[in-house]
Symmetry: C3
Subunit: 364 residues, 3 copies
């Protein structure tokens, strides 16, 4: 417990934890103040995500390389998963899908681009292990094809058969999870050595003791779930009040909130000239959402959702995911980065954000 | 003749030749047993394709480098050409196009991916001459643009002018054949030396004497043509009976059948750590179908088809060809392969196959 | 003045200047002879563009590296800009957009491909600084996404909100100009050294004295503007008379005319084994049009056009720009060129030109 308090004292991000009781209090007193609840829940989720991330890494550090890698790989986006599960059980599939697509695009473009820019402002040229970048980009490319081809194939058809879409979504989900599992086998086991420099960087924070880590993991997950509920309830009305399209909120706001903790790590890595770490977090996290979180949500929707969810995304989201992946693949191809590469990647993100922001509400 | 019998004794694939008389017998006795005829003709074409392939290589080996290369390059996909010609003269343009697109996708993804996987299970990392891979990927890229742009340009138009499509198809066909010819000039003549390591691997089977090779070439081509006729007649009804969409049959089944002989060579090359050979066969064969077989079929359709055939493919097929080419280009860029690269490529293929398998019959 | 006359005597391209008085004379005598005026104005613009280009370089050479680079970067496509401004003030937005898209595609494919081919016919293999190529391809990639995403996002919508398109166009225009400015900062200032070999080649013509250069710059710009007016007036009717679609004229003819002077430099560089120069001109010019000329036209249209122009291009043009950029990115990735790479790139261009030429008039 002491370790936890010490951590909170030294990490300004965690001071935002004060918003956790605030959001619950406000919800009890003013359940209709949507914009306020939306803002409070956003600020509350950021420090909770940071705690979750630290707890996961602590458990992983204690359990040895293979299991630890597996834990990091499955729980690394626990926050995004919990938010999405909450939205799923509320039947808000548009929000779930927007937040999945947004998390992929935001991690691939904003987190990567800002890391390049921040690092590049300090160092003339930075180098990193491009093998890991290529590996993650390959996984993302696979996921993009999985999301794109079904839409492309049924596009011509006026009324795509719902049964077809649903069967295909289940099949693709299983395929992506298998692909993700084999990717872990490849990177953690059979070809571990080529990923060496990228992995060694993870353990830069003092791990917590096992008991504390597990307690935080369980307790904070519950808090995230409760906060997400308020967030999901309020987001739609708040978006209307703030004049933002729902697509913008799901794609940009939720994704930035859910990924804030990881961004802090990625940016600090870039400033310390450890771009391996930044690239690994950015692309690794995007790949995890695309190949693990999204398909798991589809499969879980059969149990908890009002109706099953499919993997068919809004065409605009698919186009953005495709270009985000292509941008990441082309930019990380050389294993070098300068500030201008960061600018280019951030500008692609800005194009997407601007388009979504200006989008008339009825178009989703 | 002795050489032929010896070959048959030592090559288990050729034992399938027993299906050749079987399919003719069955067709004479039960002309309406579509599913049986379909299965028998599939099994009969596989060993015939292997014989054709060996005969072509034998003739090529005797005629010296330049003419031999040319022969291999034009007759290498004789089986696919004969099947497509049979379907063409029966006016089954949907099947012709599906089998062309399917052969490109299957060679690019399944043959390449399985070679990487099979090789990678035996060797930790494999290297190959990436110049040849880039060259073939470049040809494929050109063909993909030739098939994609006309569709993209007329997409907005409600009723694409048939005359426009037909004129453009002839123009593009001539262009692709010229491109293919210049590619042969480049790889066999002006810049032969950079392709050296890739080519040297072809002569791993004892070539037959010229007389036998020519006799087999002519005789087996006739047998393939006769078997194809039964195959083309039965495939549509069999697909219905087996519950497979026609797109799946044309794209996946025909392509796997037509390419079985080449796959055997590619896989055996990969297991012997001669990935140059495997990559060369997979991408070279795909490029040959896209830049030679397909445009030749369009031009021939003016002579033998009921009406001229155009180069406008079903949008889903174009999307698959584009992604197959992009996957091959990105994966062969580094000149190295591991088992996981094979898994990724095979998974892209599985996504396509799964989509086509589940596709409701009315969508083509 | 002597320097100018000497230049004209030694440069056969400038003998075409005789067409400048010819077009004005013809316009005064036969204002309805559209096809004649169209042809005369085309031939008149080519030598004027060459003079403009030399004048810009002369001014740039006198003003030192940084300002000179900036001048070259902003005035390098002055001809295209003046033609487009004339069409803009005449409210011919379809022609403006076609000529922008055409200039990008023509520079990226025709100028690059022909340089590779011409150089490759003389030298077995040519090498060049691929850093500059990657940089320019990156800028082009950004511009392509900026033009593509808005169309893709609103595609599903039956009646895209005009206000949305207009706001987005202004936002994207500002973004692209900022991106272009930061790119200049990167290539001319912070990372100048990596572009070294590409830049050194520019000063191969004797610069004119400052006074002459400025006088030519102003005088010839006026002549180009006057000629463009006749060109823009006559092009539509002439296209009809010559049986060419308007898309073909804007895309191919205008682009070849506007870029003739730069092509002469690029091709001469390739024949002298200075491919750095050719690649720099081809891709640099395309990037300049995409990130500077096009957005400036959108912003200027608020002042001089009858109604504001947006950045939404005809889908076929967007597809062509995307594939032109992808082709350039893939082809220049290795930093080496042979004649066959040139053939491949030229064939992609031929596919586009053929499609546009055969396109029925009503489809644009």
């Amino acid at each position: 417990m002491n370790a936890l308090l010490k951590e909170i004292r030294h990490n300004p991000l965690l001071w935002l934890l004060v918003f956790v009781p605030a959001v619950f209090g406000a919800h009890a007193l003013e359940p209709e103040a949507h914009t306020l609840l939306f803002a409070l829940s956003v600020f509350a989720i950021v420090p909770l995500a940071a705690l979750l991330s630290h707890a996961t890494e602590s458990v992983a550090a204690k359990t040895g390389d293979a299991i630890g890698g597996l834990l990091n790989a499955t729980l690394g986006n626990l926050t995004e998963l919990v938010i999405a599960l909450t939205a799923l059980s509320a039947g808000q599939y548009v929000l779930v899908k927007a937040s999945i697509a947004g998390a992929i695009v935001t991690n691939t473009l904003f987190m990567l681009g800002a890391s390049f820019l921040l690092g590049g402002l300090k160092y003339h040229t930075q180098e990193y292990n491009r093998i890991n970048a290529r590996f993650q980009a390959g996984l993302l490319f696979l996921a993009t094809i999985a999301l794109l081809v079904p839409s492309a194939v049924t596009e011509a058809d006026s009324a795509p058969a719902a049964a077809f879409t649903q069967q295909l979504s289940v099949g693709l989900s299983v395929l992506l999870i298998v692909g993700y599992g084999l990717g872990l086998l490849f990177s953690l086991k059979t070809h571990r050595e080529v990923f060496a420099s990228a992995d060694s960087g993870e353990s830069h924070e003092t791990p917590w003791p096992m008991g504390l880590a597990l307690a935080v993991l369980v307790g904070v997950t519950v808090l995230v779930a409760l906060t997400s509920e308020i967030f999901v309830e309020s987001v739609q009305q708040a978006a209307l009040d703030l004049g933002m399209s729902q697509a913008f909120v799901g794609f940009i706001v939720v994704a930035l909130v859910g990924g804030a903790a990881e961004m802090a790590s990625a940016f600090s890595g870039a400033r310390k000239n450890r771009l391996d770490l930044s690239v690994g977090i950015a692309l690794g996290s995007a790949a995890q959402i695309a190949l693990f979180v999204a398909p798991v949500l589809v499969l879980i929707s059969y149990v908890i959702g009002p109706t099953p969810m499919n993997l068919q995304f809004w065409p605009g989201a698919v186009v953005m995911m495709f270009f985000a992946t292509l941008t990441a693949a082309l930019c990380t191809n050389s294993g070098r980065a300068t500030w201008f590469v960061g600018v280019l990647v951030l500008m692609v993100y800005t194009i997407f954000a601007m388009t979504l922001y200006l989008l008339p509400p009825r178009v989703q």
